[in-house]
């Protein structure tokens, strides 16, 4: 009998929260009344009983409000828990419903994972390389000062001279500091033989400009640079840890560098490094402010702008000083020097110098990743639209059965949120795996752009993108009207409104546009890579090797000593089985050392406004041409003619200066006006020593020994050996080299044995990398576009079954139906292709510097890319079109 009011009460409590408080009142009032009754029964008068009950019960109002507050808190907590349970329940429903349609879920996941991972990887690289400031304080103030010379490219600007450095440092008010440096290989003596290390020779001011701090001892200062100062060295923190086991007593110890004893005065703090050089040792340059100034621009510089000064101001001030140099230092710069060279002054950002040409490559990668992301998200949006449309009927039914609109919308949106969240998580994991692999691969010439993990910035970019995508997809679901009456009246199948269809068609057009842009770009890069692969470097890569050696200047101070070392080494090596010839040079091909020196040609006076040509002037030991397989017409000087003033010139050089004439016997010289000339005795076949994408090098190959007069080079000490072998493995060769060199001089380190083939392929690594990555992005975009168009057509055919059925019942041919569907996709494709061609024309210009022997507007590439996409689109349309043509009119109309 009691349950109806009970249930009613309970319902009321659920529906009206305040009733819980009323219950408390009721409960306490009842207690009070029972107490009064009891007291009455014990014989008290009503008045006495009430007073006694009040005393025993305590302050009714206070207890009531205390209890109410407790109940209110409890209710809020319960409500929260219930909401969470509903939410989790809905989430579980979503997971199950996604699991029931694995095709849809996998398509969305795969698309999003790949594109988001691409975004994460490229953004990490950008973040690591371009956006992260150099690890110095106020890195924006750091600049590099160089002298541009008209006619030379930016990479070939002259560096500073010692005299210029002192003058700038003392007088420039736009700089708060200026330092100079040069890099060199040195040999560090140790218990287990000599070790080759990289040393930065610096002015003390350089360390102040970079604001370096010592971990131990002190750093270098200007007094260390003075001639005759005690020889000192500062160790890089990593080198100190590795080579000296973090010896805490290292300061004051003496180490032997290039056979000279140097006192270790300090160790740099951890994490500090040279911006360009991977320096292990920092040693003072010998700089004498009072020395006779010479026209020798050999020092690289790093300066720090004065606070509040910009680069332009500094450039104006220093350029003004530069024009005064010839007047200030007449001994160094002859009369008319400035008229002849007109060298100026440029102040570059240090960051730009460090990042260099990587910037373009990285932006190309980012563009590719973003384009793929656009295609991917529009594809996913298309998939969601189809699903939402298909489910309108179901939604309408659920809505008319009483499900709230909010809950239905949430259900639709939760699919998007769930899939996008999942994709973002997997994408980040995938991206960090890719980055680890790239980092571990230690790609040559790309080491700058690797990072072992996804950077926080990139992760944030992925999360934000994912959130935007999820929000977009969610609102897409919400935008569909769930009016039960309308949807049910439509009969469920004809759920496509023309407006929404045109949105999807627009997406397809966009996808094809993007795919064509990417395919064209990839095609251009691929063709460049193929063209480059066909270029003959001019080197024989079969069994040829290079290795680096460094002779300590103390014992190899003169041309005689250095020359004797290389002669003995090649004689000993060539006597060994499996070794054909051994040479040496200071500037091996494809090493990135593409400097030049001025050359004067005999019998070819310069016009008054003409400058002497600047060409490569490597110094080569006999055996060099044989070892690299470079044929020489005439002859190359041997050891017996090494000091006879004989040179070999490259064919490109001969063709420029003696076109159609015999170069043999002609004279060339370096430096200045005084004779003598060197005599040309041979013409070497062309070598693309500056890079396979550069024209063959114009070179004069000088011998190891100069003739009387001004020598062009100092003695060959930091050298690259060139070796050609026959059936000798790398291990054997390495062992032979080590044995023979230490037999000659145990203090000479040998390192970096590499095959010439590897050197050649390394020189094109960056291009192949770009082609591979953009190619991958293009393939992905094409695949996604094909999926997109397939999805759209399949969906349209499915929805128009009834209409097709009617047409066929009225006598339409299956071929007509097929044509109708294919034409529809062709129309979209043509729009996309036209837009894509316009995009390619606009965008591929930015690729220009990455291309080789192919125009950015190459018609063949564009035609091929267009044809490829057209073919793939047709292929993707065939299956849905044939399904449409196979519609059985009777059945189609019956199901309707």
């Amino acid at each position: 009998m009691g349950w109806i009011p009970d249930r009613y009460q309970e319902l009321r409590r659920l529906l009206r929260p305040e009733s819980a408080e009323e219950e408390i009142d009721e409960e306490m009032a009842q207690h009070f009344e029972l107490l009064v009754e009891r007291l009455l029964r014990s014989g008290m008068s009503p008045l006495e009983a009430r007073a006694e009950a009040s005393r025993r019960f305590g302050d009714l109002d206070a207890y009531r409000s205390e209890t109410r507050a407790i109940a209110r808190k409890a209710r809020i907590r319960t409500a929260r828990r219930e909401r969470l349970q509903t939410w989790l329940g809905d989430l579980w429903i979503t997971v199950r419903s996604l699991g029931r349609r694995p095709g849809f879920s996998v398509a969305v996941l795969a698309t999003l994972v790949l594109s988001l991972a691409g975004t994460a990887v490229t953004f990490t690289l950008i973040d690591t390389v371009l956006l992260r400031p150099l690890p110095y304080s106020a890195p924006d103030e750091l600049v590099v000062v160089r002298h541009p010379v008209p006619g030379l490219e930016e990479g070939q600007e002259w560096n500073l001279s010692a005299a210029g450095y002192f003058f700038f440092q003392q007088n420039a008010r736009s700089l708060q500091g200026l330092g100079i440096w040069s890099g060199t290989h040195v040999s560090v003596a140790g218990d287990e033989g000599a070790e080759r290390a990289i040393a930065a020779l610096v002015s003390g001011s350089l360390l102040r400009v970079l604001e370096a701090r010592p971990a131990l001892g002190r750093l270098l200062d200007d007094s260390d640079n003075r001639p005759g100062a005690p020889l000192t060295v500062v160790l890089d923190h990593g080198f100190w840890r590795q080579r000296y086991g973090s010896d805490p007593d290292i300061v004051g110890r003496v180490v032997t560098v290039n056979s000279a004893e140097r006192e270790v005065v300090g160790v740099l703090e951890p994490g500090f490094g040279h911006p360009i050089l991977d320096a292990q040792l920092w040693m003072p340059l010998e700089l004498d402010p009072t020395a006779r100034p010479v026209n020798s621009h050999i020092f690289q510089s790093i300066g720090r702008l004065a606070p509040g000064t910009d680069r332009q101001t500094a450039e104006r001030e220093l350029a003004g000083f530069t024009t005064q140099l010839p007047e200030l230092f007449p001994e160094a710069y002859s009369e008319g020097f400035m008229d002849q060279y007109r060298f100026g002054l440029a102040v570059h950002r240090l960051q730009d110098d460090v990042v260099g040409s990587l910037e373009l490559l990285l932006w190309i990668l980012v563009a590719a990743a973003l384009l793929v992301l656009v295609v991917a998200t529009s594809n996913v949006a298309g998939l969601f639209l189809v699903r939402a449309e298909a489910r309108r009927h179901e939604m309408a039914i659920r809505s008319s059965l009483g499900a709230s609109v909010g809950r239905l919308t949430w259900h639709g949106a939760s699919e998007a949120v769930l899939l996008v969240t999942g994709s973002a998580v997997v994408a980040l994991a995938l991206a960090s795996a890719v980055l680890r692999v790239l980092d571990a691969a230690e790609l040559e010439s790309l080491e700058w752009i690797t990072s072992p993990s996804v950077s926080p910035g990139a992760a944030l970019a992925v999360v934000v993108t994912a959130a935007l995508v999820a929000a977009g997809l969610g609102s897409l679901t919400r935008a569909l009207p769930v009016s039960p009456v309308q949807s049910l009246r439509e009969g469920g199948t004809a759920g496509t409104t023309p407006r929404r269809r045109s949105v999807r068609e627009l997406m397809i057009v966009g996808q094809i546009t993007v795919a064509l842009v990417l395919v064209t770009g990839a095609g251009l890069l691929l063709r460049s890579a193929i063209n480059l692969g066909r270029v003959d470097s001019g080197l024989d890569t079969d069994g040829s090797w290079m290795a680096s050696v460094a002779l300590p200047p103390v014992r190899y101070g003169g041309y005689e000593e250095a020359g004797r070392f290389f002669q003995q080494l090649s004689e000993r090596m060539e006597a060994l089985p499996g070794i054909r010839s051994v040479g040496a040079t200071n500037a091996p091909p494809l090493s990135g050392q593409d400097g030049c020196a001025l050359i004067f040609v005999e019998g070819r006076p310069l016009a008054s406004d003409e400058r002497p040509p600047c060409v490569a002037t490597p110094m080569v030991a006999p055996g060099y041409f044989d070892a690299l397989g470079i044929p020489v017409r005439g002859r190359a000087p041997g050891w017996s003619e090494i000091d006879a003033g004989e040179v070999v010139v490259s064919r490109a050089f001969a063709d420029r200066f003696w076109p159609g004439e015999d170069p043999i016997g002609r004279g060339v010289k370096g430096n200045g006006d005084e004779p003598p000339f060197y005599r040309v005795v041979g013409v070497a076949a062309d070598v693309r020593a500056d890079g396979l994408d550069r024209p063959p090098e114009e070179a004069v190959y000088f011998p190891l020994m100069p003739i009387e007069g001004a020598p062009l080079w100092s003695p060959l000490r930091s050298a690259t050996l060139t070796i050609s072998t026959e059936g000798t493995s790398q291990e054997n060769l390495a062992a032979m080299l080590r044995r023979e060199i230490s037999a000659l001089d145990p203090e000479v380190p040998v390192s970096d044995l590499r095959s010439v083939a590897a050197v050649v392929s390394r020189s094109t690594a960056r291009r192949s990398f770009a082609a591979t990555l953009v190619g991958t992005a293009a393939a992905l975009a094409v695949l996604l576009a094909a999926l997109g168009i397939y999805g759209l057509l399949a969906y349209l055919v499915g929805n128009r079954r009834a209409e097709i059925g009617v047409r066929m019942a009225l006598g339409a041919d299956p071929a007509d139906v097929l044509r109708m569907i294919v034409l529809r996709s062709l129309l979209l494709t043509v729009f996309g292709l036209v837009a894509g061609l316009v995009g390619s024309v606009l965008l591929s210009r930015s690729l220009e510097s990455m291309l080789f022997e192919v125009s950015p507007l190459d018609p063949a590439t564009m035609a091929l890319a267009t044809a490829l996409i057209l073919a793939i689109v047709l292929l993707a349309s065939v299956a849905p079109a044939r399904r449409a043509a196979a519609v059985n009119p009777v059945q189609a109309l019956r199901t309707e």
Binding site: E23, H31, R56, D59, A62, Y63, T67, K73, A74
Partner: protein, 111 residues
Amino acid sequence: MELIRGTLDLLILNALASRAMHGYEIARWLEDTTDSALSIEEGSLYPALHRMARRGWIAADWGISDANRRAKYYSLTDAGSDQLGLASSRWLRFVEAVAKVLKAAPAPNTP
């Protein structure tokens, strides 16, 4: 005798250990069991009851009282009986320790 703070919960749990009761019954049970030795304001039962209900130690259900009236009955949950065991053993240990101290050193000024 005034109630030591925090012991009310223990007493209520103990009361409910025998059977489900409504607030008035708990008050009577406490009175009978202690021979009215403890002075508890009966109104203070309600904040305590609701607090323990929120913690899940006791459950509240509407039922029909002996007087055939609607009343809210409180009963001990599993968590409540665990709490009862815990709190009573802690209480006994405390009493024991205090008793030992008092026995060892008789308070001054006692005749």
